[in-house]
Symmetry: D2
Subunit: 352 residues, 4 copies
């Protein structure tokens, strides 16, 4: 294939951690060419001023966010902006024929009331939103293939839903018993100067936050409800972990059939994810480590059944900035374009 | 008070992390004098060879473990040995009139069958074991006051039980709903050369272990059963966190009375721990950080109720080597000797 | 001693890391009582709002910075403000009879031109500045004893000067050969939200900064010049280390007398610091670790001579927030008041 | 190209960190096929037992180290063994026509006396050793192209020599003034259970080691002497940094010509490394961060001149396991086989 056939891709919001992952991945992606980087506060700066390690090969300037310019330069655009901004430009970009992958919360909800309650933003783009597809390829691959607008899931919902989906789809658990205890590295907080994310504050410590009220809860619940076919209320507790990248969820649920053993569930999970190249079910007795996923689009899942309590414990690990954010968006792009799902996406971590 | 009235104290197993905390605390304790440090492999070495920062003021040699010698030199002895060793010398030490505080699992179980199953050690000291008191002062203060043998709790049971006790004692939760998701720094693994605890392996990653089968589970269950008055089965999942010290437990349970709100429970917890100087119940909406406990004997507890799920979420933070190990043993000693409970124990962390 | 004899002490700039260390240390200091906490942006807040782990015993509000109020309430005041603010209030506080310990750069320079060049602040308080004493007790104890105004050294100068002083005072090295390679934990950057100090940025990486032009260089040079009696130019390179606390300097210098061996220098250093309870010279072949100093006012010094190159390598470790900042200021206070130099200052770290 | 043309490659010592990097890199290298993994203690185990994240795609067993078997299966072999083992099998492997890349110290020295003194191993393979080429491609590319035996440099010499080489080759500095202050992540200590490399010991601390006597010193000196054409004595001080990967050297030297400014040296360095795709000279005022190199074969170099002291300070950053070990060996293989030098080697880090 020669370069003239490459797809022109833009990234809006290139200065954040989502942006820099996208730049890194798309720069080496064999089928795309980056033709635009956009930002608000960072407009006018060289990308290498923000990330000097890109300085020798990569000579892009961050440009203002201008719909006309984006439409002229790009066939596909990734929106990596804070919540409440994407919906202001996505409809116009779609109208001009672009494919849009939004990494914010704006297009993750089929019910905009849920979104507005959680994010405190009034919306008037119901029609656009109703056409958006939830960008979790392991669950919605065929929809992603046929859409122009993907609302890419957050990192917590990705890790949680991959751990839970087979249980819900197969009706294996009591719905009201579902508890997700989630742990995330601090890069999930973004490249924003916040005191609580300083190394001096966040290193050598551990704390929960957003208990019983985190904004990712309604997102998880909406998809769980869709998967289970019954209304779901989920207990979700995130924790901040003293590490840069990585996310682990520990999921607890009570089995409907207490006769199921770990190997049964491993079989079910392997079957469920048999066409999902990035999900790796671990053998009995092996539990996931987030480090195995660093810099990859992988999700490792370990499963344990406790016959004393009739509970299943499912543990999933991802890289919050990759499968939890940028790499998953590229995976969606691969599917939308009909390319190999794994194209340009790392599949083995550097260890240690 | 002059020095001649100080109590002579020995530490068996001084070379490990439990040992070095004990040395540090007892060295500055106003009522005791360290008169003996003992060890197996480390016998014959200067303590400062193992911990050079003690080298300028503290000139102790680690001596062989000899019951006669200990009895001649000490009135009180702390046993900080791996499981399955303390019970071989504790009965003789008690017979010679010493007070014994054991930091291993050997004297934590009133039912030795439970111990033998969990630790795979056969025991023949039922009588001694039946006189041992579980060294969690917030629950068993009056028993500790009147015993000569304390089996000090492990770090996971300490953090878990302090979070749970008021719920169980007051019958506030459905017993079968109890889930403890626990997170610990790597110092809990001791000063032993294990590949999985290397910085290169354990830093920047996160993983569960011992899922549905960790050895601390029966210890937690035994005390829970005692507190609740009904047979308890507990879901307990420990995780290894990339930090040196600190432990957090996130406890989930279903409330019997869904009308209870967070402030009710905060009131109940404050009342329950009103005489416990080391337990600090946090205000509504504040959750504990392990860093607040570093180098202290404190336990911070945060409480949240989720009215959507009728669950209470209790979060407790301790320093796993202090309240979870050595400092709690010193707290027990203070009680056994009739001293102020807080004597010689740090109460405010250095932050950050 | 009863409480009525305690000295009333205020802290201006209580919200930062220097402030919280001072609060922590002075709260337990047997001879002082905290009577005032002041701040600018934080004025009006409860101290426990900023540092919730203080919330149970310590009920102070941060008040506006008001010279009259401070003078009414305090006998001694610590100024823990950014550079360029202390000099605006110190003269008035001194006039009202207070003892002033300034932790900023404002009173570290006997030559205000050097200060003005380095900090870009014009000054008009020459007279006050000329009466200030440099608060490094190991070098200037007798001056500190007799002053009302101490300019406490920065962390880099403290670690550097303690490593170098015996060499310069004894004329043991070629002055132009002095190189200081310094390494600091990120808490030295303060409790300010800066992107480069985020855990996500600063963890798992290492970088130099301020090469050949760091603001601490003139401070180090001024004292070196004073100690050596000749004009000194020092090569100083700081590095940011992925840890919260701790500072290490590795000092290189060429020996005048290549016949000196390591043991000679160890003898010289031990003699030099024989009356300095916080400086600990390590035995031959043992090098300092910053962790040994965490939470203490100690400085560990290791010395090596390389006969192949005729160089001496001196390594010093301190806690940058303690001996490098707050605890050293308390040490100065102890000296100013004629108390035991070590009063209220931790002397053994909790390890690990 | 189809698979039948791929080169058959073996890795002896696959279980360590060098081994796992080699497996990771060669597995994705377009021109090679891994046909053998060998080990001593790990023989008989599945590779995925040691590194479970390889478990889903990669099904290799570690086999005993057998020269005949290696020769039958491989055209090229990487030896990633502890020092003193490679020289026992390399001569036979070479005799059988294999190309050998040794990652240990065994073939880094043209003078075996220097090796024997530093590593305390007697050798009898002078002829083989005299044919070995030092595997630093930026300095010895043409020799590497024409040899069958490469002795790959250690991480410290790689980082140090890349920083120093232009200065020495151009005769820009006073030879006796050279000081290297080096800082390394703990993975450099290998996947061996050592107490001092435990996270609990090595995290949140910093310490020097091997001062004035580290084994990498003679290796650095031998190459420096070769580059400078005069006998060189180097001051080299390594430090252990609380991070997994990464190495930074801060090099100090006195300029012969004090009129040189930073931009002059940047020009000289850029010219020197103009054909070196993995060396990146930073613009004036930008200093390297080790994180920029993580998971890549890059070396970033920053340069500063201090006109006050007539010194140049050169700072170089690499990933100690990549450019400092495994990736550099693959770079050598690329050169030996006449492939593109960058083939299969990552060139942009994932950040943060």
């Amino acid at each position: 294939m020669n370069d003239t056939k490459k797809i022109a891709v833009g990234i809006v919001g290139a200065s954040g951690y989502g942006g820099v992952q996208l730049v890194r991945l798309l720069w080496e992606h064999p089928q795309v060419e980056i033709t635009y980087l956009g930002g608000n506060e960072s407009a006018g700066k060289d990308f290498a001023e923000l990330y000097p390690h890109f300085g020798h090969r990569f000579h892009y300037k961050i440009e203002p966010i201008d719909v006309e310019m984006i439409a002229q330069r790009c066939q596909v655009v990734f929106l990596s902006l804070p919540h409440g901004l994407a919906y202001k430009i996505a409809p116009q970009l779609l109208e001009k024929g672009l494919q849009v992958l939004d990494l914010s919360a704006d297009y993750r909800f089929s019910d905009l009331n849920t979104y507005s309650t959680a994010y405190n933003v009034e919306r008037d783009d119901e029609e656009t939103a109703s056409n958006a597809v939830y960008g979790l390829p392991e669950l919605y691959q065929s929809l992603i293939k046929n859409t122009s607008l993907v609302g890419c899931p957050g990192c917590y919902p990705t890790a949680s839903l991959l751990a839970i989906a087979p249980l819900l789809k197969q009706g294996l658990i009591l719905p009201e018993s579902l508890i997700i205890d989630a742990k995330s590295g601090t890069s999930g907080g973004g490249r924003k100067s916040k005191v609580n994310l300083l190394l001096a504050e966040a290193d050598n410590t551990l704390s929960p936050y957003g208990v019983a009220g985190h904004r990712h809860t309604p997102e998880i619940e909406a998809i769980c409800t869709h998967l289970a076919g019954v209304d779901m209320r989920v207990q979700f507790t995130p924790h901040l972990i003293p590490m840069v990248r990585g996310m682990l969820t520990t999921v607890y649920a009570t089995l409907r059939d207490p006769g199921l053993v770990g190997d049964d569930l491993i079989t079910i999970y392997n079957a469920f994810y048999r066409s999902s190249p990035f999900v790796r079910i671990l053998p009995n007795g092996v539990y996931p480590q987030t480090k195995w996923t660093a810099g990859t689009n992988l999700c490792y899942i370990g499963i344990e059944v406790d016959p004393r309590t009739d509970r299943v414990i499912v543990m999933s690990a991802i890289d919050n900035l990759m499968k939890g954010q940028a790499a998953q968006a590229v995976q969606c792009l691969n599917i939308m374009r009909g390319w190999e799902e794994t194209l340009g996406l790392p599949e083995i971590a550097f260890y240690p």
